[in-house]
Assembly symmetry: C2
Homo-oligomer: 147 residues x 2
């Protein structure tokens, strides 16, 4: 199941690439059903928080009619940055499944680990490395083309 949903996140990442955006995608899942989808829209929507995770939270909250995404998991192709890891705990997401690590901005263990900070009012369980090679190669080929 993990790879099934990560493949859906990769489809979202591909949509970002098609728009000339850094190819990162995400889906939010509740009870085995996708309730939210998102991909990077920073350049096309001109807003710094237009990351895949934030857009997926927006979509899932609209579908579920609540800001509380309790019982939901997110599948995201790259390790969330501090903003997105923060947004995922604010949204009460249960589990974060991510593909490739981000040694430049990852906030789930790479640059630092937000969920090792004591005193937060919610913690997400983090599962790294789902289809990581596929997720990473999407990014690599995108940046290779832009050079």
């Amino acid at each position: 199941m993990n790879t099934f949903f990560m493949k859906e996140a990769i489809i979202e990442a591909q949509k970002a690439a098609d728009l000339g955006e850094v190819p990162i995608g995400a889906v939010i899942v509740k009870n085995g059903i996708i309730v939210g989808r998102g991909h990077n829209t920073r350049e096309s929507e001109e807003v710094a928080y237009g990351h895949a995770e934030i857009n997926a939270i927006k979509d899932a909250s609209a579908k579920l009619g609540s800001w509380r995404l309790t019982g939901c998991s997110i599948y995201v192709t790259i390790e969330p940055c501090p903003m997105c890891a923060g947004a995922l705990y604010q949204a009460r997401i249960n589990e974060i499944y991510y593909g490739a690590s981000d040694p430049k901005a990852g906030a789930c263990g790479s640059v630092f680990d937000l969920f090792s900070v004591e005193g937060l009012n919610h913690y997400c369980h983090v599962f790294p490395g789902i289809l990581s090679d596929e997720c990473k190669s999407l990014l690599q080929s995108f940046f290779r083309k832009r050079r």
Copy 2:
């Protein structure tokens, strides 16, 4: 000038209180002019990232026509949470002026300090304690009424 802009952020916080939202407000300033305003809309818009800072980023980006808020400062009544501190560096905000510290979720020194993490691609300068008593008492009277 710092207190002038913080008073504008407090006006935003009051708008949140009037909506039954936790009273936190923010303004974004460039070259001495307010280019973005925001207040909490989490409950009224049903989205977990509906914090004052995120809404102010949205407003400023729309006004300036760019996701890059280079040369901008934010004035926010309460210390930013991890999500918002992350969003402010993603938006390339230069300075964060905040009112009251947040011992429960503050990511600029209280629960932890995002800007002490090495390796981020941008750092915001942080100035705490601007009209902090006024900012804190707004929150306190809001929570007192709800008990």
